[in-house]
């Protein structure tokens, strides 16, 4: 085994390097790396072990702890699902209606006022209608009454005349 093979650990040769100078340089880089690894601060391994234990501890505690109950959407939960959906739809529809109403609020108000005004006039006309009808009806009734009186008087005269004729005839 060459010096370089020894430096590279023997597990992997630097066969891709043919230049003796580069092989030597590679060996010196290995020396540098070894010196830097050896220059690690004292107690590094102990600190790393503490880190590992600290990182492991939650995992071990979790394994020892009882498994939390699983919450799944079962039949009971699914049965109640339509209710919130219906409520959500209702809320959405209400919000939509309010929004549409607010969106065209000015023209709608004008139209509504106009309609209300027209309706009021119609109602007033209807309310005044009985008075008109009542006046005309009174006139008609008075006329009928007068006609009835006239007919009654005429009837009396006719009856008196008929009685006279009958009496004259009987005589």
């Amino acid at each position: 085994m060459t010096m370089h093979e020894a430096r590279s650990g023997g597990h992997e040769m630097n066969s891709h390097i043919e230049d003796a100078g580069l092989i030597e340089l590679s060996g010196r880089l290995d020396d540098l790396g070894r010196a830097e690894r050896g220059g690690a601060p004292a107690g590094l391994e102990d600190r790393l072990l503490s880190c590992v234990r600290g990182a492991e501890a939650p995992q071990l505690r979790y394994i020892d702890a009882p498994a939390p109950p699983l919450v799944r959407a079962g039949p009971a939960l699914r049965r109640w699902m339509p209710l919130p959906m219906a409520a959500a739809l209702a809320v959405a529809a209400t919000i939509g209606a309010v929004w549409l109403n607010n969106r065209n609020s000015q023209p709608a108000t004008s139209r509504m006022e106009l309609a209300a005004l027209t309706l009021e006039q119609d109602v007033n006309q209807w309310l005044s209608l009985p008075d008109v009808i009542g006046q005309e009806l009174d006139a008609e009734l008075a006329a009928l009454d007068a006609e009835a009186s006239r007919l009654s008087a005429k009837s009396d005269e006719s009856a008196n005349g008929l009685e006279s004729l009958i009496e004259e005839g009987a005589l």
Binding site: I17, G27, L32, A35, C51
Partner: protein, 206 residues
């Protein structure tokens, strides 16, 4: 030959690693010690190569291992046989986040490692005679002058001690492409060293 033993000790076979990971998933303390022993300093060295301070590199390494423990403990690790590339992907992401956050420029060399020390604190089992500390400092400074793509290859290969196969999985690049990139990065590094007047090695001539 002692270096061979060191590397083999650092990087055991995937079968062995699978057993260690399985034990770590079960919360075995010895398994985590083994994972830390194999990879802790390698992650630290990679982080240190991109950050100025030991403290920041230390924090990044801790963060990486905390993530590792959380993912392995929760069964989040599923890339069987690709543990090393997975681990260093986590590390690279953490390092990039930190560099982006702090706007630190990649400065690898901490002078206290290389200067004023006759022994550059070799790792366990390393008994090979290293170059002069000042030379290693010059080498570290030369790496800083490489382009990011070249530097990434050098750092992963030599500082993190990754194999080309694991680097290929980490960077999602064909092995041949990585070897070519490594070769190119070495040539650029040598050119930088020569331009600075520092010899990259006695045998380095061009």
């Amino acid at each position: 030959m002692e270096l061979v033993a060191e590397r083999q000790q650092e990087q055991s076979g995937p079968e062995d690693l699978a057993g260690v990971l399985s034990a770590a998933r079960a919360g075995e303390d010895w398994a985590w010690r083994e994972i830390i022993r194999r990879f802790g300093r390698r992650v630290f060295a990679l982080a240190k190569s991109r950050c100025r301070s030991n403290d920041v590199a230390d924090e990044i390494t801790q963060s990486v291992f905390a993530t590792l423990a959380a993912k392995i403990g929760s069964g989040g690790y599923s890339e069987v046989g690709r543990f090393e590339s997975w681990l260093f992907r986590i590390a690279m992401n953490r390092i990039r986040d930190e560099v982006r956050r702090s706007h630190r420029q990649a400065v690898a060399a901490d002078p206290e490692i290389f200067e004023g020390r006759s022994d550059p604190a070799p790792g366990p089992g390393a008994s090979v005679e290293l170059g002069a500390p000042a030379d290693l400092g010059a080498l570290a400074r030369a790496i800083e002058r490489l382009q990011e793509a070249d530097r990434e290859i050098i750092d992963l290969r030599h500082r993190a001690g990754m194999s080309f196969k694991d680097m290929s999985e980490l960077l999602n690049e064909p092995l041949g492409t990585l070897l070519a990139r490594h070769h190119r990065a070495l040539r650029k590094l040598r050119a930088i060293l020569e331009s600075e007047g520092a010899s990259p090695g006695e045998e380095v001539t061009e």
